[in-house]
């Protein structure tokens, strides 16, 4: 056991920190989940890419630094510590890219990865449908074979597609074999949202941003080249991605450590008149963020040694999503009647609360995650 970062890692941290401090937008950008903000975030992401900070763990040929998992964690800590902008490329680089690395052809990787990392081409996910939320295997959107053109024709509706109104491309599952049982007969497609037959309707999110979209597909042609992994094996391919979403890649500790730290600042600013319950909650949040960090380091050590994590990722998702809600609720308590404001200095907390409240819902509701923990980690019976 050695819980120190080595000199190379510390040097990496120093380099990250210096670059981010020097380059991060000041004043902060508007929300990347609005049309205007999205454009500004693309510019920021491009500058990250140009300096090779966009995707530090990727191969050099795709714009990365071949950084270790440890270095990636360090980058994330520094990024959030500095209050740098949200990553509007996140669904591409954290959800799709791991799947592309695992299942994509070399030609798919070459075609998509660099453009994704530089935000030249932005990606949104197409999992949910009106009747397929927690029950993802209930997907109805279908893919019909078009042998003549060498591809598939997609028809159906995807919903709750984050930033779908601004993105260029969508990845998602479609039912390619209507005869097969629920989890089978699905295929993973990469879809150009500018293609004929695609209609995107923005949906206003809880916080007022156009963060969601409904995507309607009507006989949309997708060439065979844009099938990811094997035909009819989309569920297996997608599970690798949802594993990433729930697990390590989307929610590195840096984000929650930074929130805990801001919460401590908020409490300090409140002076002596703090309610005991909020007082306790602040310290609890601080320790929980530490717990999250060290559980991550524990897991990353195993990953670095080649182990894989499975249903443990459900524990991780439960912890960060509920911690995030607790921290923002505590902030509301500290702010008192100012907590409702969406202008002025406390506005980020209300924005953050609304964002945090989505955490226990997306990427598999926490009710489903607890079922997964009980059934797969503890071996309790399904029915």
């Amino acid at each position: 056991m050695d819980l120190t970062f080595d000199e190379a890692e510390e040097a990496f941290r120093a380099e990250c920190r210096a670059w981010i401090e020097e380059n991060r937008p000041d004043p902060a950008l508007p929300s990347g989940d609005t049309r205007e903000g999205f454009g500004l975030h693309r510019v920021w992401e491009r500058s990250l890419f140009d300096a090779r900070w966009a995707v530090v763990s990727w191969p050099r040929e795709y714009g990365g630094r071949e950084a270790s998992l440890w270095e990636w964690l360090i980058f994330e800590e520094e990024y959030y510590r500095a209050g740098a902008p949200q990553r509007v490329t996140q669904n591409g680089i954290f959800l799709l890219a791991p799947t592309l690395f695992a299942f994509g052809t070399k030609s798919q990787q070459d075609r998509y990865l660099p453009a994704m990392a530089s935000a030249e081409e932005t990606w949104c996910q197409g999992w949910s449908e009106p009747d397929a939320g927690s029950d993802l295997a209930a997907i109805r959107s279908r893919a019909v074979r078009d042998e003549t053109e060498g591809g598939w024709r997609l028809t159906g509706q995807k919903t709750w597609t984050t930033r779908g109104a601004f993105c260029d491309r969508l990845f998602g599952l479609f039912r390619s074999d209507p005869e097969a049982a629920r989890h089978r007969g699905l295929t993973y497609f990469l879809v150009d949202l500018r293609a004929d037959g695609v209609t995107v309707r923005p949906v206003e999110r809880l916080d007022g941003d156009e963060g969601f979209a409904e995507v309607f597909l009507e006989d949309v042609f997708v060439p065979d080249d844009d099938v990811l992994g094997e035909v009819h094996k989309g569920w297996e391919v997608a599970m690798a991605t949802t594993g990433s979403e729930r697990g390590l890649t989307l929610r590195s500790p840096g984000r929650f450590m930074a929130t805990a730290s801001r919460l401590v600042d908020l409490r300090r600013a409140a002076g002596d008149s703090v309610d005991p319950a909020a007082e306790d909650a602040v310290v609890r949040a601080y320790i929980d963020a530490e717990a999250y960090r060290w559980q991550t380091f524990w897991t990353v050590t195993r990953l670095a040694e080649g182990e894989r994590i499975g249903a443990e990722s459900s524990l991780v998702k439960l912890f960060w999503s509920e911690l995030d809600v607790r921290m923002h609720e505590t902030a509301s308590e500290l702010l008192g009647s100012s907590s409702e404001l969406i202008d002025g200095p406390s506005a980020d907390w209300m924005k953050g609360l609304q964002f945090a409240l989505a955490g226990p819902i997306y990427a598999g509701t926490n009710e489903i995650q607890r079922n997964v923990v009980a059934e797969r980690l503890l071996g309790l019976p399904r029915k």
Binding site: S273, D275, A277, L335, S337, S338, S339, I361, T365
Partner: protein
């Protein structure tokens, strides 16, 4: 001991519920979001006609001559409808305050010809001040009523887009004062009670909506309301509301009967009502999932109101204790049997974010 509403009280409440179902459905609440300074005139005028605004005004000035027990169920219904109007500030705070001060303006308010906003001593901003005729403001010397035309307003923005918040700069002095510290304390208690009642209504509305959704939304081949986790979320909300409501009604009675422990009772009520409504919001959103996370769904109209009111008039959402902050100053809490506990409770709550310890609202300037 008879802890129930009279038939007349229940009838008035039901009438208001019916009225608001018609005149203040979600579409009307949305109109208040969409900017401008629109009022829900039809609802307001109809309530004025029913006498709702003058429930606690004496008959001599055209009121009903009732009390807070008569009013509390009505306010609950305004919460259920998320009525975007300062009815708490007008009917619960300003009308009795001015009537007791012998101030003529009580009549206009109780008749619906005017309305009032207020800044709670715990808060910084006035809601719907732009369309109010009168502002109730607090300072160390007591409570004031200022014509909105004599104040400067600066618009601030709430997560609940129907709540038009304003910072207020006004000149307070002997000429504006309508009551001393006792009247101020009573006005505050009335405002906190009113908001607590609205929170009960909001919680019930959130629960009802979510129960309906859980019955019809299917996943895994079954209504989600048949899953035990969803059942237990909603049972917890029902539980919280069940035990909050009697505290709110008791507080109404304590104000109406000028009970010596009135302020303690109001704080307890506000604490439980805030917790229940905020829990209802959390559970409603979780059980709806993504569909509740859009502004296209009505859910957010009630959720955001619950967040805002949970933190207003002396409480922060989720923190029972914060709203108790002012519970016990100089008064014995609870029933006689518990009276030994009072000195501790007093000492304890003095340390919180408390009124009147906080020297005065920041949202207004004293220029007298």
């Amino acid at each position: 001991m008879h802890f129930a509403f009279t038939e007349e009280q229940i009838e008035l409440r039901n009438a208001v519920r019916d009225l608001l179902a018609k005149e203040c459905p979600p579409e009307v609440v949305r109109r208040a979001w969409s900017g401008g300074a629109g009022r829900t005139d039809r609802a307001w005028n109809a309530m004025a006609e029913m006498g709702v605004l003058g429930v606690v005004a004496p008959e001599a000035i055209g009121g009903i001559g009732g009390d807070e027990v008569d009013l509390v169920g009505v306010l609950e219904e305004t919460g259920r409808a998320a009525l975007p109007e300062p009815i708490v500030e007008t009917a619960a705070v300003a009308v009795p305050l001015l009537a007791e001060a012998g101030d003529d303006r009580a009549a206009a308010l109780s008749e619906g010809g005017a309305c009032a906003s207020a800044i709670a001593p715990t808060d910084d901003l006035a809601v719907w001040a732009d369309t109010a005729d009168l502002l109730v403001l607090f300072d160390d010397t007591g409570v004031h009523a200022v014509a909105t035309s004599d104040a400067e307003l600066e618009r601030r923005h709430s997560v609940d887009g129907a709540r038009r918040l304003h910072r207020v700069v006004a000149r307070l002095g002997d000429s504006t004062r309508v009551g001393g510290p006792d009247a101020a304390a009573l006005a505050f208690d009335r405002g906190a009670l009113g908001v607590a009642a609205q929170l009960l209504g909001l919680g019930a509305q959130l629960l009802d909506t979510t129960v309906d959704y859980a019955k019809q939304r299917e996943q895994f081949g079954a209504p989600i309301g048949s899953f035990q986790a969803v059942k237990h979320h909603l049972a917890n909300v029902r539980l919280a509301l069940e035990f909050a409501a009697p505290l709110v009604y008791r507080a109404a009675w304590s104000i109406a009967s000028r009970d010596g422990e009135r302020s303690v009772h109001v704080s307890m009520a506000k604490a439980h009502a805030s917790d229940a409504a905020v829990l209802a919001s959390r559970s409603a959103l979780q059980c709806h999932g993504a569909i509740g996370y859009t502004t296209e769904h009505d859910l957010h109209l009630w959720m955001k109101r619950a967040w805002a009111l949970g933190a207003a008039w002396g409480s922060a959402p989720g923190t029972a204790a914060a709203s108790r902050a002012r519970s016990c100053d100089d008064r014995r809490p609870g029933a006689e049997i518990m009276s030994e506990a009072a000195p501790y409770c007093t000492e304890r709550t003095r340390r919180g974010r408390a009124w009147p310890e906080r020297p005065g609202p920041k949202g207004q300037e004293r220029e007298s």
